[in-house]
């Protein structure tokens, strides 16, 4: 039967009939969900508080100099975290430089160009990469990638780009470059899977409009990618978060040296790797406190990177509300 105006049966104002009794189910529902939500926040806050408490002796002893100090000396009981901050930033930077073009390119291929059957198959294999344990990547990096770097890539880099300080030194295979490549392979699935979802959720009208206006397929793809930028940035941030914190794979291939070097062929260390290496054997209050302070610095760094990325996404979205969400 038609009526004068439309009513939706499930409008927001329709509620189940309130039961007479002390507690309403909806209130229980709300309270439980709020508690669970706050529990997550509470755990995060607890981590920060415990790290800060554990790091207190080191913060008192070194202050700001901890972040710029270059000497990590357990015998002299003097600690500076700059080599590890440097190592973390360099390896994550290399990983992003390699993973983002490959990941976004792969996702564009899978979402726009590949026939559905191939697309699903390749996507499955890429997502399989994400489920490989990181220690396996570490072993692969040490026994497969390092010899190849030592005999093929690094000598080539030294021969052709050796005038840059980035590629000076002896090719031993293990080092910052090795760690960066391993990290890149580990985060490519994250970038690809999420970017592919973003691209698939883009409205087809944009693509079709570009083609109707005479754009080539490549140009239409460029339009879609441009509109999907906020979502893809979100994927990159997630990948960067993983790269910053990756421990076992990096520990096995980075060479574990607490000296800062401009060369990508040199060994280095990251914040996560130094904690993994030294925490169990650390004796001495200041030593332990310094390691906990490194954990705190890593936490804060991840927070800053995520916040910056959020701001970047908001800026990229601007006033456009019709594009893929950055949530």
């Amino acid at each position: 039967m038609s009526s004068g105006h439309l009513t939706t049966p499930w409008s927001a104002s329709a509620r189940p009939v309130a039961r007479r009794g002390p507690v309403h189910p909806d209130d229980v529902y709300r309270v439980v969900l709020q508690a669970l939500g706050f529990a997550v926040l509470a755990v995060a806050a607890l981590i920060v508080v415990e790290c800060a408490r554990g790091a207190a002796p080191s913060i008192r002893a070194f202050g700001w100099h901890f972040l710029v100090g270059t000497q990590w000396d357990p015998i002299a009981d003097h600690y500076g975290a700059l080599p590890y901050v440097w190592g973390t930033l360099v390896t994550s930077g290399i990983a992003m430089l390699l993973a983002v073009p490959i990941g976004v390119g792969a996702s564009a291929f899978l979402a726009e160009l590949a026939p559905p059957a191939i697309g699903e198959g390749v996507a499955f294999v890429i997502e399989l990469l994400a489920s490989i344990p990181s220690i396996v990547f570490g072993v692969w990096g040490m026994f497969v990638l390092a010899p190849w770097l030592r005999s093929a890539l690094e000598p080539w880099l030294i021969a052709h780009l050796g005038f840059l300080p980035l590629f000076q030194g002896f090719p031993f295979g293990l080092g910052v470059l090795n760690a960066g490549i391993v990290l890149a392979i580990m985060v490519v699935p994250t970038v690809t899977a999420i970017s592919r979802q973003i691209l698939r959720s883009m409205p087809r009208t944009m693509n079709e409009a570009a083609l109707a206006l005479g754009a080539t397929r490549a140009e239409a793809l460029a339009v879609t990618l441009d509109a999907a930028r906020p979502g893809i940035l979100g994927a990159v941030v997630l990948a960067l978060g993983r790269a910053l914190g990756e421990t076992m794979a990096v520990t096995m291939v980075i060479g574990n040296s607490s000296r800062i070097s401009l060369s990508l062929l040199a060994p280095g260390a990251t914040m996560a790797s130094v904690i993994a290496n030294e925490f169990t054997e650390a004796t001495g209050k200041l030593y332990l406190a310094s390691l906990v302070e490194i954990a705190l610095v890593l936490f804060v760094l991840t927070l800053i990177v995520n916040a910056l990325a959020r701001l970047l996404v908001l800026w990229a979205v601007g006033g456009r509300r019709d594009v893929a969400g950055a949530a």
């Binding site: 015998i75 040490m142 026994f143 030592r150 169990t280 054997e281 004796t283």
Partner: protein
Amino acid sequence: MPSTKSFARLAATLAALLVVAGAAGAQTLTGAGATFPYPLYSKWFDAYHEKKGVEINYQAIGSGAGIQQVKAGTVDFGASDAALSDAQLKDMPRRVLHIPTVAGAVVLAYDLPGFNGTLHLTPELVAGIYLGKITSWNDRRIVAANPGVSLPAAPILAVHRSDGSGTTNIFTSYLAAVSTAWKELVGAGTSVSWPSGVGGKGNDGVSGVVKQTPGAIGYVELAYARQNQLPIALVRNRAGQYVEPSLASTVAAVNGAAAQLAKDVRAPIVNSASPDAWPIAGLTFLLVYQDTKDATRARQLADFLDWAIHDGQEYAEALEYARLPDAVVRVNEATLKLLSSGGRRLVAVKG
């Protein structure tokens, strides 16, 4: 709502269970610490359980963590490759005794493709390599120590431990003993600031890097080098002899320091003057409180320690650990006589 009576019955049953569990718990001792002697300790705990029925639970979490657990009182004994310093001993709530169980040798494994001899190294060479002063295999100083063999012109990669370890402690103690430059610049300890080279995690990490990288040299426990069939360097000891690292030369190193060990069992045994001694050796220790409140646990621990330093030594050589020479066993027996519970000395059980 359960009645008060049934609640009381439930509480009584739980209490009874706890008492029984508590009594049964006296049959299990706990320990934590070093990973180096873990294969041997694991064998010991099995054998001792079969013999005496006492179960011993050991967590190989590392010497440093073991020391922390002893300090916190959560374990009956700790295991450490490095003896506690005077400062660390003062930090402990009560007096801690050191009981060396076995000795280990730290060796220099290398990978030099094309080199068909056995590498001879002097203490100065070892220190120079790890200080980063000697960077090439055909440096004239290395050539001088290895006459008649040709060394390749490859750069040296000095591999060290990236994690804190007793092996590092023994090796850096040796370097500090033979090189004043090392002593001033770096020092000795389970974790140091290395002037050069790369780090591998664990003995297996270092062996892995050495095996994979031509031109690498690294320090590992003798057992690892043997199992991975890595070429091992001969090192000249204080008496001027180029000694091969073996269980026999390790025992010689311990014997060479017997007099010092009798005075303080923590005395380092590196760089021994004895002619057959391997210069880079060290003892591994069990750490126990002299006084344990619980008499049953104290007695069980004392029994186990007595078994370990006598019967337990039979298992050492098969697993590539050097057994304690008689002199050190005597020192340990004297230490065990100091164990007490609640202030009263335990009678040492003859094993």
